[in-house]
């Protein structure tokens, strides 16, 4: 397995041809397309991104069973972690969910109103849950980590609190696929259903990896920082 893992000497364009889903990572790191034959290290240096963290993300998103061991984790420069997670939140909320919502509401408007309203209420509830979930991370967890990275530990918060309340935001998406595939009775709108389903499957995969990064990389990393700062 190790032999397939990406390295800093590889051309960025080659990474993308191995796993085209990585095109989604490019804007989240603020990288512009048209990067020619440059390798990963050159591009990361140009944009002042941590090369080791960029590779970590690409590897996690590409190889299903890839997770860094403790040594690799500690050797990773994590300055790009928080900006990356924030950019991902923004992308999920303002692009992906927006897109799903617009198509879902089109379907809802074409259904019998009692079904349509139910569908809208379900999605709005879900969206609010996601907003709350991200907001907690942005307003509480990330600033805490920022401060910790600068050597200023907080006395009132620690990462265990985050671990215990980190909620699942994937169930409702998978429920929505079942509703659209199996249960929503209006027969029409096939094209829109396919669009949304496709979109949800992609988003679910992405969110799964995102949670993996938060739970298996962010939390252990912060636990280490906490110990270091005592």
């Amino acid at each position: 397995m190790k032999a397939f893992i990406f390295t800093e000497k590889m051309k960025l364009s080659d990474l993308l041809s191995v796993n085209h889903h990585l095109i989604l990572m490019i804007p989240r790191f603020g990288i512009e397309f048209g990067f020619g034959e440059k390798n990963v290290k050159e591009i990361c240096e140009k944009y002042n991104i941590s090369t080791s963290f960029f590779l970590l993300v690409c590897n996690v998103y590409t190889y299903d069973d890839y997770l860094p061991d403790k040594k690799a984790l500690l050797a990773t420069d994590m300055r790009s972690l928080i900006p990356f997670l924030s950019a991902s939140h923004d992308y999920y909320l303002n692009e992906r969910l927006q897109f799903i919502e617009s198509y879902l509401f089109k379907i809802a408007d074409n259904c019998e109103s009692k079904y349509g309203d139910t569908l809208k209420r379900f999605f709005s509830g879900y969206k609010q849950k996601v907003v709350d979930h991200f907001e907690y991370e942005e307003k509480t967890v990330f600033p805490y980590i920022d401060a910790l990275q600068m050597g200023k530990p907080s006395k009132s918060y620690n990462i265990n609190q985050f671990q215990s309340i980190h909620s699942n935001i994937e169930d409702e998406l998978s429920d929505l696929t079942n509703i659209l595939i199996k249960y929503l009775p209006c027969n029409l709108m096939t094209k829109e259903r396919v669009m949304i389903l496709n979109e949800i499957f992609h988003l679910s995969d992405d969110l799964n990896k995102h949670s993996l990064i938060e739970e298996k990389i962010l939390i252990p990393y912060v636990e280490f920082l906490e110990k270091d700062n005592i």
Binding site: F122, D171, D175
Partner: protein, 198 residues
């Protein structure tokens, strides 16, 4: 000496046949009496050789007949059917078999599976019901109305443990896990009225 079981193997891959034979060799209880590459002669062999077990790749059975294993074996002596799975086979198909052997299984595991299949010669699980039971409907309606497990248990005079087990079955059958998703399900199926939702 204990009884020896006669086995017919139906598999087209020489590699798998050789591997399976190797796994079973040295085991006095099992005797591979025939190897077939297709199901063409299976019927005749079942009658002439009267095997105790057939180990068969389900994909070798015609698609139309694959779901009706029983009807295929109607006119032959009873036999224990084991699926030898090397590629994706639908769960519905596998449910008809007494046991399933996969590529990952080692010698020990294969022996255990054969023994278990011989002991309870009934197919895996007959009840593959995706309809909700009356009790599950009651629980689902209560969940959709926003009731907590404790309230549901009191209302239906059952334990919380039973409520949780019903909820697990509901999610397995419908594919829906979240409370809000279950509410949508209940509404779409006219089990509750919009006004009843908090």
């Amino acid at each position: 000496m204990s009884k020896s079981y006669k086995i017919i193997v139906v598999e087209s891959s020489p590699l798998l046949v050789a591997g399976l034979k190797h796994m079973l060799s040295g085991h006095l209880s099992y005797d591979v009496v025939a190897v077939l590459e297709s199901t063409e002669k299976l019927h005749d062999k079942l009658i002439s050789l009267k095997p105790d077990i057939i180990i068969i790749n389900p994909l070798l059975i015609d698609y139309a007949k694959r779901f009706m294993l029983k009807s295929m074996l109607l006119k032959t002596p009873p036999v224990v059917c084991i699926a030898l799975v090397s590629a994706y086979v639908e769960p519905v198909v596998l449910k008809q078999y007494h046991g399933v052997i996969g590529l990952e299984d080692g010698k020990q595991k294969i022996e255990t599976k054969l023994r278990e299949a011989l002991q309870n010669d009934r197919p895996n699980e007959q009840k593959d019901n995706y309809e909700l039971s009356d009790r599950e409907r009651d629980v689902l309606i209560a969940v959709a109305k926003g009731k907590m497990n404790k309230e549901i248990a009191d209302q239906l005079h059952i334990s919380i443990h039973t409520v949780i087990s019903h909820r697990k079955n509901i999610s397995r059958k419908t594919g829906i896990k979240s409370v809000s998703g279950l509410t949508v399900y209940a509404l779409l199926n006219n089990m509750i009225d919009e006004r009843e939702v908090k």
